[in-house]
Amino acid sequence: MRSVSRRFGETVALDGVDFEARPGEIHALLGANGAGKTTLMRILAGLDRPDTGTVEVFGQRIENFEPGPIRALGVALVQQHFTLVPTLTASENLVLARPEGALLPPGRTAGVRVQKLVEQFGLEVRDGVPASQLSVGERQRLEILRALDADAKILLLDEPTAVLTDVEAERLLGVARALADQGRALVVITHRLAEVEACDRVTVLREGIEAISDGAVDGYTRADLASAMIGTDTSGTITARTSRRTQAAPVCLRVRDVSLGRVSSLSLDVGEGEIVGIAGVDGNGQSELEAALSGRSAAESGEVSISGEPIAPGDPRSRRGQGLAYIPSDRYSWGLIGPMDLADNLELGRVLPIRPNRPARHKAARPSLDHWDVRTAGPHARTSSLSGGNAQKLVLARELDEHPSAVLACYPTRGLDPEAADTVATRLVAAAEAGCAVLWIGAELDELLAVSDRIEVLYDGTLFGPYLPPFDRAAIGLAMAGDAADRARSATGGEAGPP
């Protein structure tokens, strides 16, 4: 792939990226969220097209970016979201991918085909049950078998280990090595350093640009890779706080042994007036943590309390009553109702049974909109007409106006322009300085470095830290890529992984 670029509206996903995969090698594609890894692979698989640049497969230039012809050249992409048909069994999924004529083979023949593949590549898959009933690991193995069944010469694996247990992940990397030894080219997308070390070559993407281009894995230390991934540019868009809290404050938000999905037995305290930043790559338990703390899902176990008062699991309303403000990661799913006007959205969660008439409601909304600098045509405007920044300010206006005692802010600056991001951050800092406990879950390290009193790194459902100011950027970067977890594991001698 030569100088491939791709934009989505305003965002530049890829900016002139070169990429090469060679037979017999495993090429790691490393990068943080939104670095462009998945876009690059989707283009190579024909599921997306580049705006500029060229793609060649075995010397043949691709003109027609369609999945069919590119598959026929021997390129197979195993996506993060699996593309098995959930109602079909293993053998039916294989037949769908590579039919043997117009008639379906009889059940036994199809089963033999699965069995042969399973034996040939050592990837265990049950046949005869719908794919939706297979475990995640099995589904992934089936995806890989399906690619191998089509005799894929170039196998692209998009974060293959993200959903696997440690043992399964290790096995998968072993299989990848065996496939490379057979002369196939493999590309493994990952954000884990331990996996890069199992590969031959590495390319690191950061914000659509190569930070390391096609280097030999042996030539880099973990620290090199981590800093290439998160960048060394410390001039973030967010104004750094001038003072940080150093003394311990009374605990306001207390999380004890909370488990939900990927998050296991997580404990955390946030003091009054403190901003605690949760750093980490998406998919390490952030969404579960958000769901459990906001009350959207009941935690499987554990307890959350605000100002010493425990709150019932899975009850968003009682949380609000006890002074938890919630800035959701997805504004339009959980924060705002797009088709309703601004005044109505400001009132959500505290609507009176009998409401004042519309002009009165609009009048009441105005001071709040002005104070929070929501730039709009007025309180009557449809909320979906707002830009991302103004929509987020509207959420802040509703959530912070009531002087909450704790704030759960999930990716509060995601998708905002620099100015709006800075405003949002400033307001949250102001809330903390007024005595509010702020838990800030973020993906961008720079902004967390700029605002936090303390940073914890969420990796694979577990917190690593604390990291205190002045922050050691490199150390946090390594922890985000799993280095701290690897160390902790080898220190306890737990090579075998979970039972």
């Binding site: 069919g68 048909v85 109602t87 079909l88």
Partner: protein, 290 residues
């Protein structure tokens, strides 16, 4: 009551069940590909009028059936253009399609035969050729989904269009084909109704049989054989109510008129809870918009 439990009632039931069975088969092909076809009633009606006019003009009910099939395929093509290519809402488009079809068939019918003028009775086909035709269609649809790659592909497109797309199948083309095939079978069903048991066309002659067929598809879990069985259950009730209307009872005849629909509804409630709906039913497909 003797007339109720007779061979004649059963035969009438089979005759009245055939059009519903064919329409249900069409809907199965449609919906397995992920296209919800609420225009089924309209397609049946269009096929019925087409079949009637051509039979009247040529004097051959077989050519009438063919005309119904073609008219149905045409309406299926129009519907596919709207919902698959232009991605309009399948629910709204389907209902609008049926309403337009009711109005259009009434209008065209009145252009040809004035109000008050008695439309001619056309030559009718006997029961057995139509039964044979329907059985061939059932077997065909069964074979399509159980034994052919094409059927597997249609199901895959209806369950998980993104997967089918990633494997290189043309989702839009497959949905077009399925919608046209479904329309053709619905049109054939309509033509069977006028060229078989009735032998004439009147306004809204299908009388909601298309909707019944849609309900039966849910009841049958999108499988052809149970759908056809359900269609004959509906036909039997229809035949029974016709006979009950003729007997002098205290019960108002409207109750009997409603009987087949009530039975369908009950069957639906009893069965539909564990039915398996194609996951992408009703969703237009846009690549990359997950």
């Amino acid at each position: 009551m003797d007339t109720l439990f007779s061979i004649a009632t059963v035969e009438a039931g089979i005759r009245l069940g055939l059009p519903v069975a064919l329409a249900a088969l069409g809907a199965i092909i449609n919906e397995r590909s992920g296209v919800l076809n609420l225009g089924l009633e309209g397609m049946m009606l269009s096929g019925a009028l087409g079949g009637y006019i051509v039979n009247d003009a040529t004097g051959s009910p077989w050519i009438g059936l063919l005309a119904g099939l073609l008219v149905g395929a045409l309406t299926g093509g129009v519907f596919a253009g709207l919902v698959v290519t232009f991605r309009t809402s399948q629910v709204v488009t389907g209902i609008a399609f049926t309403i337009v079809a009711i109005a259009a068939t009434t209008y065209l019918f009145q252009l040809r035969w004035d109000i008050g003028e008695l439309p001619p009775r056309v030559e009718r086909l006997g029961m057995w050729p139509l039964v044979a035709l329907t059985l061939v269609c059932v077997a065909g649809v069964w074979f399509l989904f159980r034994r052919t790659t094409l059927g597997l592909t249609i199901s895959a497109v209806g369950e998980s269009p993104e997967s089918a797309d990633a494997l290189g199948y043309n989702v839009v083309l497959i949905r077009w084909m399925a919608t046209i095939a479904g329309g053709a079978l619905a049109g054939l069903g309509g033509a069977v109704l006028v060229n078989g048991p009735l032998g004439l066309f009147i306004e809204e002659v299908t009388a909601g049989r298309g909707w019944v067929a849609l309900a039966l598809v849910v009841f049958a879990g999108w499988r052809p054989v149970p759908a056809v069985a359900g269609a004959f259950l509906f036909g039997l009730c229809d035949a029974a109510q016709l006979r009950l209307q003729g007997t002098a009872t205290e019960v108002p005849y409207e109750v009997f008129l409603a009987l087949p629909y009530v039975v369908t509804l009950i069957a639906l409630v009893v069965r539909a809870r564990r039915s398996h709906t194609p996951a992408a039913l009703g969703d237009p497909y846009v690549r990359g918009a997950a």
